[in-house]
């Protein structure tokens, strides 16, 4: 009872399941959007730069040493583009996997079968069981709040998947994400 009372008193401020994680400040936490070939609209692996088509959303969160790594806007978007309120407005072609804002929402072209490894390839950042972008540490992956036991590159990008990758420290994952309308 005493424990319950203490918990009640100390926990009045926030739901117990919510805790903030700071965004990393060092350069390794702010990554470029794409390699030169993607910015130029050239073929990237099996993906071509195109336009149109419906898309669905996948949300990915990245952590290194228990700090947030931002997934930038403009991954999979060829230049030129415009930005408005941190959102990228493509003016030419985009790839089947792209980000238009820095919220971690990957827009996947409907009908495309792709994995998280494909997304990192378009982004131009390394990913593996012991590598997350510029960070070298064991990578733990969660999909829908559940531990992903295999190689994080093989995680399929399915509609409304919620993916968390953590390198060098455990971060309790969100099981779900509320996607904006249209995705």
């Amino acid at each position: 009872m005493i424990g319950a009372l203490l918990g009640l008193v100390l926990g009045l401020s926030l739901p117990p399941s919510v805790k903030p994680w700071p965004i990393g400040a060092e350069p390794g936490y702010r990554l470029p959007t794409a390699p030169a070939a993607v910015l130029a609209g050239r073929r990237a692996g099996r993906f071509r730069c195109g336009s149109g088509a419906r898309r669905f959303g996948v949300h990915v969160e990245l952590f290194a040493r228990r700090r947030v790594v931002i997934v930038p806007a403009g991954i999979g978007v060829a230049r030129p583009w415009r930005t408005s309120f941190s959102r990228v407005r493509p003016e030419w072609c985009t790839y089947p996997l792209r980000t238009l804002d820095p919220t971690g929402v990957i827009e996947v072209r409907a009908g495309v079968r792709a994995t998280l490894g494909d997304f990192f390839a378009i982004w131009g950042q390394p990913l593996g069981p012991r590598r997350l972008a510029g960070f070298r540490a064991p990578v733990v992956a969660f999909v829908g709040g559940r531990l992903w036991p295999g190689d994080p590159r093989r995680i399929p990008l399915t509609p409304h998947a919620q993916i968390v990758l953590a390198a060098g420290g455990y971060v309790p994952p969100h099981p779900r994400y509320l996607f904006p309308p249209g995705l």
């Binding site: 919510v18 965004i23 228990r66 947030v68 919220t103 531990l147 455990y170 969100h174 509320l178």
Partner: protein
């Protein structure tokens, strides 16, 4: 690695990671507009211009307009709790932007700063106008007040009894004392007081029972 896996299995129900779109946007941007509804372009431009002017004047304010649960992505539980979300967002941004961050939700407005909640009379008393454009108009008015250091001090009486300072989020890896908020020792004091309220009557009853004369043996 095994420890991490073990921890993940032990805490399956917690939802803590970073998933609110506003923090990802405000780490470099000055304004987060709702994803769930469209702010009129004129108001959006006005808000952008005001926050730019505030920054150029050396009094930066970043703004998040939250119109619905969707705008909070993975932390929808914070919708309707502007003070809690202001503290949450300030804690997320603390290493990349320690300045002021203004939250406007239909339920109210709140201000965070340096990873903590900040009490400001204008923000606490703000009445949020209805609709998504109302959020923007409220934010514009507050940014203009917050950015103006020459403004007359507010003289409309004391703060309401429920100030944002009563809500606290302990940011990861930081001390828990906050400017203008309830520090950790305050929470502990409340806890001790509550325990005392609970225990004192019990002790009193127990002592009375112990002090009662026993009946003599026949």
């Amino acid at each position: 690695m095994p420890a991490i896996v073990l921890a993940s299995l032990a805490l399956p129900g917690l939802a803590r990671a970073d998933a609110d779109p506003a923090s990802d946007t405000l780490y470099v941007g000055r304004v987060f507009l709702p994803l769930s509804a469209r702010v009129s372009p004129q108001l959006a431009r006005q808000l952008a211009a005001d926050t730019l002017a505030a920054e150029q004047a050396g009094r930066p304010v970043r703004v998040a307009l939250i119109a619905s649960r969707t705008d909070l992505g993975g932390v929808p539980a914070l919708f309707g709790r502007p003070t809690a979300y202001a503290a949450f967002l300030a804690a997320e941004l603390q290493f990349v932007y320690p300045g002021r961050v203004l939250i406007v939700m239909p339920q109210g407005a709140a201000l965070g700063e340096r990873g903590r909640l900040a009490a400001n009379p204008d923000v606490v008393r703000a009445k949020v106008e209805p609709g998504v454009d109302g959020l923007a108009r409220t934010a514009i008015a507050l940014v203009e007040k917050l950015a103006d250091v020459h403004a007359e001090p507010s003289a409309s009486g004391p703060l309401p009894s429920t100030t944002p300072a009563q809500v606290h989020v302990a940011p990861t890896g930081t001390t828990s004392k906050r400017a203008g908020g309830l520090p950790a020792w305050g929470s502990a004091l409340i806890a001790v007081g509550a325990l005392a309220l609970l225990l004192v009557p019990g002790i009193w009853v127990a002592r009375r029972r112990a002090g009662r004369p026993t009946e003599p043996a026949p």
